[in-house]
Subunit: 134 residues, 2 copies
């Protein structure tokens, strides 16, 4: 795992789960499949749970389960759940003194925000079951 690994891991896991919904999977098993660590899995899937895409159960026979049908989970749901902002930065701003410069910076930021929205819109058009399915 290297780059964009959170998104990759999330998509990989969800797609995998889509193949047999209602089945419970442990972090350890998922980590095994994804070639990573159970804690890392819990970190990423925790975000997805907060967003209502997954449920988790503690204790014996606990684990992770899809909270919705695979066809009702879009890539945008996943992307937003992870709080990634690939295009637009996370409020990088150190505001320059010069007004012209500041205005230009805001223009650039606004354009990147626009691109980000386009990206999310595009992500809305694909569901997890499509990732798996073909």
């Amino acid at each position: 795992m290297k780059r964009n690994s959170r998104l990759s891991l999330a998509l990989h896991t969800l797609s995998h789960m889509a193949g047999d919904p209602d089945r419970v999977r442990t972090s350890a098993a998922i980590a095994e499949h994804a070639g990573t660590n159970p804690v890392v899995v819990r970190r990423v899937l925790g975000r997805l749970r907060e967003a209502g895409l997954l449920t988790s159960e503690k204790g014996h026979a606990g684990g992770w389960r899809l909270a919705r049908k695979p066809g009702e989970i879009t890539l945008a749901d996943v992307y937003l759940a992870l709080n990634e902002r690939l295009v637009a930065g996370r409020e990088n701003a150190d505001t320059p003194e010069c007004a012209v410069e500041r205005a230009l910076q805001e223009r650039v930021a606004a354009v990147l925000e626009d691109i980000e929205r386009s990206l999310v819109k595009r992500l809305t058009e694909t569901s997890i079951s499509e990732v798996r399915g073909g």
Copy 2:
């Protein structure tokens, strides 16, 4: 400068130059405006030069100049010049043994490639002069 700083810096600089094309600007002056370092500027703008978006001249009274009209430089040109791949990873792959797992991984990668292409296509629709202009 923090996140997506290369893309930000490039867009900021190009937009700035679009305001007065044909004028030569030094790395030092650009760095001043952008709140960063001349070497960083040269690193980023060097990529843009390789892509044919800028020209640079050494020596006394040298510096950077737009190689095309601002209206003929799209955000996709800039993005691709920087060799950024925001969505799709840069060949992260460590191929897993299991064939099913490997196939799934390839599916995810293919989807992300698709998204990446959509992003670039979207970037093609905006030019530098539009960034500046409003």
